[in-house]
Symmetry: none
Subunit: 139 residues, 4 copies
Amino acid sequence: MPQGSVLETITSEEARRVIDAAAAKATEIGQPMDIAVVDAGGNLKAHVRMDGANIGSITISINKAYTSIAFQCETGDLQGVTRQDGPIYGLSDAHGGRLAVFPGGIPLVRNGSIMGAIGVSTGTIEQDQEVAEAGVAAY
Amino acid sequence: MPQGSVLETITSEEARRVIDAAAAKATEIGQPMDIAVVDAGGNLKAHVRMDGANIGSITISINKAYTSIAFQCETGDLQGVTRQDGPIYGLSDAHGGRLAVFPGGIPLVRNGSIMGAIGVSTGTIEQDQEVAEAGVAAY
Amino acid sequence: MPQGSVLETITSEEARRVIDAAAAKATEIGQPMDIAVVDAGGNLKAHVRMDGANIGSITISINKAYTSIAFQCETGDLQGVTRQDGPIYGLSDAHGGRLAVFPGGIPLVRNGSIMGAIGVSTGTIEQDQEVAEAGVAAY
Amino acid sequence: MPQGSVLETITSEEARRVIDAAAAKATEIGQPMDIAVVDAGGNLKAHVRMDGANIGSITISINKAYTSIAFQCETGDLQGVTRQDGPIYGLSDAHGGRLAVFPGGIPLVRNGSIMGAIGVSTGTIEQDQEVAEAGVAAY
């Protein structure tokens, strides 16, 4: 039996606040979204698929959040460098797949430490990024 | 571009109500849980990992909900029949993996149609089932 | 570019100290081992395959450490309950595979929080457990 | 039971020396790294994730080392030939995934035989390569 419980880097309440803020922005711009929040280990803390959002974006939103943890950056930062003439073209394959290398994933930072990340998917990359930023602002 | 959007069988609001009721029961019995809700297609609609719940139960809660859709029953109904001497021993392998064949997954039914399912994991199977039932009661 | 770096729950120095202590015990009992340490998110922090240890135990040692994080317990605690007549028979399938449900994985606990885990494999389960315990004692 | 043990092509001590030299260079240039060493069979011998290095680079460092064994070359040698207009574009897919086709993976050679390989990831490809070379120099 457990002698303790795994260190939580982001709480359920924080995850809900981030998701609710992101969902409010998604509603405001009229684009339903999949929204995921992961902890500092890249493990899912919460996910919501808004009514009308993509089924295919369930995993993309989760993987965007994961990618932000895995590479300690916004997923959009990986877009140029992973293109076919970029220095790390083939990054996702080299990792074993599942990486998202376009906007919509952003780390959640506190006191210089990445404590989790949000991933948003279904809209255009500009919309995904805007909604993710609204989530970050509520952290 | 799409001319419509995929039929929603369960709304975000319903999923949240189900999860909140399940989480309230989990809090009441003092056992944090992973709680997932999927739609009639078995696709994730919402997930919450309560503070202290298992990282390993993220996928199990989702897979319990999926399994309830996939076989139109409670996951506990599959326990006896999939045991070593049961008629469908090897079911998960036959499916390609991911099936949960112990309690904690229950369909969400309306007017005789399964519209979604809830999956709960981290506690004992009795606790998982009790919390899932609390979620179903709020649907 | 990163605005911070991911919270570290276990340091490289701690991981090395744990592995070195485990390896010393393995040498003492004359059984080379694969030894892995993961952080609180279940992600690999360090791994060593001692000379003569199993190639097949590379992933098993890593997965034992992961399983200890994922279920907040020693992997040996999962052995009875996942047997064919146990309440959660089929756990690994339900999780999506990769779980180790026999001794050799133990959480690394500090002040009531699981900060990481060690996984050991190649010997008998008694040897794996003994070596893992030696690693834990050095944490 | 075994009548012998699998031929070791690189010892734990050699792997540690290579990793320590690489880590020292990483510290010197101020860029924490994931560093992996594999044997002549491409199987992991040792891995260290330095504090601050990427979680996503765990598998990439391992896969860079594997790729160096798998194709008997530096991973950087595969970069040009696998680009969209290169002769073996699609190499990783053809292999079943996991290949790294950018710098940071280098074979460890003795008397004309590749005995193992090092893989380094988290920094720029120039940094990864520089740190890998420092590891090779200590072999």
